[in-house]
Symmetry: C2
Subunit: 492 residues, 2 copies
Amino acid sequence: MDLVITLNEQAPLPLHRQLYDELRRAILTGRLLPKQRIPSTRALAKSLGISRATVTLSYEQLLSEGYLETTVGSGTFVCAQLPDDLLQSSPVESDRPFTQRPVPLSAYGMTLLAPELAKVRDSTLELNFSYGRPAFDHFPMDLWRRLLSRYCHLNPACMDYAADSGGYLPLRQAIAHYLSRARAVLCDPEQVIILNGSQQALDLITRLLVDRDDRVVLEDPGYLGARRTFLAHGATLHPVPVDQSGLMVQALADVQNAKLIYVTPSHQFPTGAVLSLPRRLELLSWAQKTGTIILEDDYDSEYRYGGRTNAQDNRPIPALQGLDIGQSVIYIGTFSKVLFPALRLGYVVVPPTLIDLITRAKWLCDRQSPLLEQYVLTDFINEGHLERHIRRMRSLYDQRRQCLVAALAQHLPNTVTILGENAGIHVMVKFHTHLSDAELLQRVTQMQVGLMSAQPCYLNAQSSSEFIFGYAELSESQIEEGIRRLALVLRS
Amino acid sequence: MDLVITLNEQAPLPLHRQLYDELRRAILTGRLLPKQRIPSTRALAKSLGISRATVTLSYEQLLSEGYLETTVGSGTFVCAQLPDDLLQSSPVESDRPFTQRPVPLSAYGMTLLAPELAKVRDSTLELNFSYGRPAFDHFPMDLWRRLLSRYCHLNPACMDYAADSGGYLPLRQAIAHYLSRARAVLCDPEQVIILNGSQQALDLITRLLVDRDDRVVLEDPGYLGARRTFLAHGATLHPVPVDQSGLMVQALADVQNAKLIYVTPSHQFPTGAVLSLPRRLELLSWAQKTGTIILEDDYDSEYRYGGRTNAQDNRPIPALQGLDIGQSVIYIGTFSKVLFPALRLGYVVVPPTLIDLITRAKWLCDRQSPLLEQYVLTDFINEGHLERHIRRMRSLYDQRRQCLVAALAQHLPNTVTILGENAGIHVMVKFHTHLSDAELLQRVTQMQVGLMSAQPCYLNAQSSSEFIFGYAELSESQIEEGIRRLALVLRS
């Protein structure tokens, strides 16, 4: 039998395993045919210049797996029971030559192929005014590690399947308390469902409430992450414009049959407008009248900077959820911006009638969020670290925000309008320039400055020369240097 | 003005915050009407017996939020701009009286209401032969903590959004290597997508490939977690029977237009049968011919116990994925059973044509799996801890398995047939008894023994007196005691 087998003594894979792989491939690709006799262990060992024990090991594995069979007295053969049709239909010689047949997709799968649903690439530029990253170097990681260690002592409770897919109950209690103190959200702990960040909240809620072609109302401009989720579910988008008091609720009067309305009332994304109280009440009234569910994304409400001296004014304004008397609001919160994004912990607060359903959905989706982190976060909140960290970050971000505003005023006098600077961790800046957004982005990129145009956030409304400046992650000197370079571009 | 306000000096909430809450509620529920004048700070402080500063704090907050307004010289009033219709339509006096209007659900949401999709409650019995839990007390948690500490030193890379939603590339490389060594899975690291356990893999793949009423083929009996996922997506289930060589592939000849076939070839759940090589090849051939995607769930393939003395035989048999030459197989793996369930890390290995799509889906679902754990797991694999742990657990579980088999033979001679004992971390046991499954479960429950009937795993095929015995979590003395109690029930 002429069987070419290549073995490499330098390779990390042991020789018997290499031989096994080669013989198996030979059988599957038809180089060795069913019932074909293969060399004896002695003969093959000799021909390959390896030990007989090595060949025996390979043969035994192939025998035990049904590739080979032995007949006493006459030798070893390729198993006769291999189905002929497979061997004949693919007598391939090369390594795994893939048939490039497209996989048939579901409607959801097909929708995801749309170019606007592609993942947005993060900028890797030196001075990146990207939105959403916190000040990583100010997170109390040592403390976090100590808390992790506390539970890393063979604690089966935090290694096991969770008793409740909705999350670790003490964490839900801690969040309910925190939300009632900080956001005037009124809920029982059971209404708080722990999820993997706000994106899973958006996805699950949309999945549970929105069918293809259902109408979803959203702010224009608005948050792309939410819009993409609604698009992925095949929803019909109904954009409503935004002004300096947030969503223009009066425009809802004509909207019929909406399943869901998505809003960012604390700090409208990207304009930074705060939804006024009268509009909040009007929105709630409209939602109750029309039976529409309000999805309130409170994504960075922790950070609010007052112009007044009274510290009381720094308190974030109350959530829609707390004003609601009709079970119309689903509230979304996340720890991605307050702690760090890779933690992947967020939550929804749902009306009591939805608790069971969303818990089931979470269970079917991915069972539960990681428990160890839930234990640690519980202590982090209950021992006061969360609110302490928020206070520290609020003052840090306030400095960075003031630095950004001052740098814009100094380097670009009369060239910019700043929006939404009283809250959150970004501002929206409108430039008075003849450059197109694309030209401007191209030029700042050359200077290693990362900026995000607000244009993709717009659906119907028009925008130009509007940019989103995240400042939480950058030091004051980085902010100043970034604006200095930007000014060079804008004044050239 | 007669305004009853109850404040509690013992409550943890500061008085000014309590007062703020009470006044806000009074405005929202219509006890205080728009334009109504409210008492001066001095008057209210006096009437409530609290300091004037406290009242001022509350008023300032309400002023800043637009609930109140001041007119110079004439006092403080409830804001006139509150929309009248809301206040009139809900003149509520009590605490948050919810309108119990049902939330309109999507087709997916409606499907989830089916009773068979309710979360299965875990047993809390003393001796629980539950399926799927590893030996928690044998996990090297100290080592895991040390690895965690390694990355808990202000490492922005593992705190940030991931560059790739498909997972941390070094982890994907480590898994691809491991799978090629241990499971003969052939893939590039990019084909490995990190997900939150195998349940997210099932959910995402089904979502991307299966529309309502699409046909999904599955083993009968089979794994409930998968069946529930397919049901939740509205799939039409096509069960195919199983014998001692696994899925009866010949029964597929008549099956037309299936989108997906779900199989557990290494250790069929729950029977424990191993899909024979001829059937594997036949299955692959059928899938290629019909364009059906094979979903290969390799849920506990790490554990295989040979009857022979040769250690080589303990090696798990190769996966379908490695035999496939047509991009027909999606391979699912999980660390829930090898490490611990609460970790929530698993993966799919997809054909190259699906990499982009599933990465997009993961991004839209929940952005990424937690990064810190991915860093730690990478080191755990690359430093040899994973395979060392698997070897240790294999020998531990082998002892427990032998103990279980011996105890069954000793206490229940001629009363049991044991299936699938050569692999995995459970066996299926058929009792020769006149007791119904319900009677038997009721009696063993009274003796604090947790058992799982195999009946719910069956769709068309019939079953009785078949039970699933997970043994990984129980010590030998617990196993013996459990079987002793079971024997008391069966012999009574």
